[in-house]
Amino acid sequence: MSGTFVGMPKFPVAARAALEDTQLRHNLAHATSTIRGKRARLVDEVNEVSSWEDLRLAGAGVKEAALLSLETQLLRLEETLTANGAIVHWARDAEEACRIVATVATSHQVDEVVKVKSMVTQEIGLNEALAAAGIAAWETDLAELIVQLGDDLPSHILVPAIHRNRAEVREIFLRAMKTVGRPAPEDLTDEPAVLAAAAREHLREKFLRARVGVSGANFAVAETGTLVVVESEGNGRMCLTLPEVLISVVGIEKVVSTWDDLDPLLRLLPRSSTGERMNPYTSTWSGVTPGDGPQEVHVVLLDNGRTRALADQVGRQALRCIRCSACLNVCPVYERTGGHAYGSVYPGPIGAILNPLLKGFGVDEQTDSLPYASSLCGACFEACPVRIDIPSVLVDQRAKVVDAHRDSRVPKVEQLAFKGAAVALSDARRLGFGERFTKVGLGVARRLGAAAWTSARDLPPAPAESFRAWWKRTDGGRDESTKESGR
């Protein structure tokens, strides 16, 4: 597997392959059930002293308010960041954002940057773009390091190497660390603590010498010109503090209006994400602090499809997402297929709606297959800390996928089916006529088009007579003496 999602097969195809990987299913079941339990205990704890639901409402409210006034918030953010000494750039798409980062890095004559784990830089393919410019981008989050050293793809928003178990991690470290820096110790065991210590030693030399750091941001506060990074390991603090230059790529939906808006979000995110009351480290910085940390600070405000998502009145709520990954951990589909099947850096239920929103409908088959990658059970909505109604968006998107293919030469099956239904149901005589062929129709369907449907579901047997035939025969049930007319 190479380091890109481009050219991934449609979800059903990729999911079938994933389902056959028993190691993957074992790793995922263990990991997701662990984190579900932790989160559930903390939600109960909050409910003993406060209200989790009210906290969700507050968190959803501050994100929604910022999104609906996004132009005001972005202008204010630009103004406060600039006043704080940061240099603000705007990027319409991935290519423009990558070019800005590469240009800044190149202007400092570096051949490497250290990176904080960031979904948005994955989304825009920054590492590949920097590599093309002759700059090595070192991932410093432990899971991202595992993915990078394994020449693998991330499969979870929070724990990108969730599909790897400890034995696999050990093997990757032994094989790959020596190719890019300090080798793993030869007596490396598969104890998580020992593996983490090896990562510490491997990355330390990179942190201490790096001149340019690259990050995303969890939140951007318009009022104060402050960026926020929430993390666990301290690799984020290293990248945000030690280099001379810091470049942060921030999706325009990350903005919140005021400093106080962070309160509900900082209470919701760690509990939903890692199942902790608070994550080990949260860093906030407002541009340049004289004598402390990077003295040249860049912020790249990125669109890359976010305004397209914002224009979708049903789907725009997906931009409230704070990337906690709670929806992945509770999803029965994700738990079985893992993240790679979604063919994107944003997997799971949120990925199923976010990818089509960012890329558009009817653009590629893979993206169009994502709104169907769900049983619509609703667990994701229940778990979402900012109350994104993912099932409703999925249903809306299924309609949009069909709409996008209305002019296709080969129509979608459901389009044909509903066209047929519209013809039959719009006229009583036509319906009566059609009903006489129910048995034959179902028999044909069973042999032909419905094979994919019936492989996992039951197609009901045809009734002996239709309701209308029964009504006519028995005079609405008053006379059961007449024999059923055989058809």
Partner: protein, 208 residues
């Protein structure tokens, strides 16, 4: 058209249907507890940090006990001379120590801005008694002094107190236990890149 104008134009067009922006409902508050300091102590210890309670008079001894035997320690300029600590192992940060030099120091001692009981969090606003961010990051042991009167109940109390520091342009570091990861099979391991040892020294108020 510049990227900026184009993006802002797209935002405006995307929100053409929006006539009013509803205000967010207020975030709920946690119910009060009698012993806020006790809750803080319990929650910090929950992260497997070491928690010590002492008085102002007992602070120098508590700090010496908190440091590994023979450990060197860096001290921010605003704390120098106030801790009753002396000896060759203590270095006052002059702002010039490089990351590589800090990597040779065993520990760091700082004050803090706020403690949050509910989440067991200490927040540094990097005032002179806490120093620049690098000194509390690179050494492997962080001994952090929290006055009992700095401890608040929950996150909204803390964000309210920290607002002035943020508006003054200062960075913040929120610390909840030692550096940790759950990236391998989601089993929590303490100690990755940040300080692997966190000692929180709570200094009781004179009357309490």
């Amino acid at each position: 058209m510049s990227a900026r104008d184009e993006i802002l134009g797209r935002v405006r067009a995307a929100l053409a249907d929006v006539t009013e922006v509803p205000a967010a409902p207020a975030a709920p508050r946690r119910s009060p507890v009698a012993d806020v300091v006790g809750l803080f102590e319990e929650r910090v210890a929950d992260y497997r940090a070491v928690v010590v309670r002492t008085t102002a008079g007992g602070l120098p001894a508590a700090l010496r006990d908190a440091l590994p035997a023979g450990a060197s320690a860096v001290i921010p300029p605003g704390l120098a001379g106030t801790l009753g600590l002396s000896g060759t192992g203590f270095v006052v940060d002059d702002g010039e120590l490089s990351a590589a030099q800090l990597d040779q120091v065993d520990a760091v001692i700082t004050a803090s801005a706020v403690g949050i009981a509910e989440t067991g969090t200490i927040v540094l606003d990097h005032a002179p008694d806490q120093g620049r961010r690098a000194i509390t990051l690179v050494p492997d042991t962080h001994v952090c002094i929290v006055r009992a009167d700095q401890i608040v109940l929950d996150v909204p109390d803390a964000t309210a107190l920290l607002r002035a520091a943020v508006l003054a342009g200062r960075p913040l570091t929120w610390i909840s236990g030692p550096s940790a990861t759950s990236d391998i099979e989601l089993s929590r391991v303490e100690g990755v890149h940040g300080p692997r040892n966190l000692v929180v020294v709570i200094v009781e108020s004179p009357q309490g």
